[in-house]
Symmetry: C2
Subunit: 344 residues, 2 copies
Amino acid sequence: MIPTTAREIRLRSRPAGWPAPENFELCEVPVRQPDEDEVLVRNTHMSVDPYMRGRMSDAKSYVAPFALGEALQGGTVGWVAASRSQIPVGSWVRHDRGWRDYATIATKLAQPIDVNIAPPSAYLGVLGMPGLTAFVGLHDIGGLGPSDVVFISSAAGAVGSIAGQLAKAHGATVIGSAGSDEKVAYLTNELGFDAAFNYKNGRSVDQLRRLAPDGIDLYFDNVGGEQLEAALATLVDHGRIVACGMISQYNETAKAPRNLTAIVRSRLTMRGFIVFDHQARSGDFVREVAPQVKSGRIKFPESIVDGLENAPQAFIDMLRGGKYLGKVIVRLADAEARSPNTSS
Amino acid sequence: MIPTTAREIRLRSRPAGWPAPENFELCEVPVRQPDEDEVLVRNTHMSVDPYMRGRMSDAKSYVAPFALGEALQGGTVGWVAASRSQIPVGSWVRHDRGWRDYATIATKLAQPIDVNIAPPSAYLGVLGMPGLTAFVGLHDIGGLGPSDVVFISSAAGAVGSIAGQLAKAHGATVIGSAGSDEKVAYLTNELGFDAAFNYKNGRSVDQLRRLAPDGIDLYFDNVGGEQLEAALATLVDHGRIVACGMISQYNETAKAPRNLTAIVRSRLTMRGFIVFDHQARSGDFVREVAPQVKSGRIKFPESIVDGLENAPQAFIDMLRGGKYLGKVIVRLADAEARSPNTSS
């Protein structure tokens, strides 16, 4: 039963600093049946990701800003509820029209996913953009080698949790930082990190040096700020920094590291990247990672928030950190309850 | 006439923040005649360089700290006044026992220089460590290409003035920043820079964007701080930063750039280096640069300070910037007045 109307979340106003619930608006809109070469997708899970904060601003960025008064966008998965294309009804697809319960999209924007390898939500995390980010960051940007000592910040997050496991699978020694003792325990007990520390339990540079007395070779930076400062002080000569994100600086007056001169003194290389430039690596990524996901060797922690109406708060909480472990997913519908007329 | 005693400058105490004259001490010491396989050099010119500030501290660095109570060291040139080696008396050599009028050193530490290509002092600048720094930074670290728009800070300094001319000779468009209108005029009128600005005449980021409306491809960073911040805001996607030095941060609480997130957003690469790691490139460097120095195509501005007793103040003034143009050289003796018994 396809409803005639459904909900979407719009950007009502651009956040100044931290986003707040009043920047968002939940609206009821007609569900449009597909035209020729389109499908109507019942979205079941949507992603909230740090990069979306950038799109909420009007500033120049690597993707166009979200338009005020229009539905937000982002990675989502769901099943095809109506089709006028070669994709049959009932198929699982991934696309970029998240932040809404139903989406009518061109066939070429719908990417089929194999839910026999992993559940649909995994295609927003370990087998999606965060997983590809970890893979490209470690290999293409960071030049990961099996004898590297790797430090990963936000290590219990969507990207960090995968990066740490991929680095371990490659033979590296992996140290992570996170914001609670529970996350730290999870990293070492469940994800196989060699060591981890809670950045709230003392100065990061002291904790990192204690865990890596001979220094670190590679820093996978998801947060900037104090973690970057600790890494700069601990990297060996000719060490590398993968600048994947600086979530600590997206919403506040930047707390820049005070020891950037280490880049000269220790001959460091710091390299930024955006995963959207590296889609050509998707095939290599899936070939390497999907079997390890299917076998259970790579785990993919998820935090599930139910209901589109809770997506703005989930996004805000994800940005602030601390509340969630792993990939934050907003569940829009029960993935097991596909409509009877689509189960064929 | 070789004197029996001569002067040297010792490190009396380690500077806290900016060095001051009381950190230094001028002492009279015996002149030691050479033993077997040694030469006695009458130093005529010595170098004062930013990296020396690092060696005055006790912190871990890429070169050992200077010892308290002992003579400082650094690049110097002079002529051989007495010899028990295959290097004849009267030869010009470069070595690393500066900060003194006379030096008795092992033959292997004395590197002959050709004063028919350029005057002796040039071997402390354009044909010495600063020149090699510019060459390695542009080519090996920065991957300079002929269509690059290059921004160079401290562009009227020892390294910047050479880097700008080398980049121009390679076909690049070159923009420099400096701390006075006179220096800015010198860069464009004498050294062939395409454009230059005085960072004291308004916000650097505004001035840089005006001169490079389509952005810069390569930033050669000698100073860090506000210039680095301006570059981060102006670099094109996939732009590169050569982290050669951060003189603005050597003596004060660091003023870190507040926009490091540009490294991620613009996919920048920032790479630090130390010229001492790249001595193997000296041959290539001399082959490329020496003919251009001899022909006059590459100019090498120098600021000369007379007398060893003035070396500490020259070093301090060089670090603070603003006073000197080009390479700062302390002249210890008249290069034209070699002792009669050595002129054969």
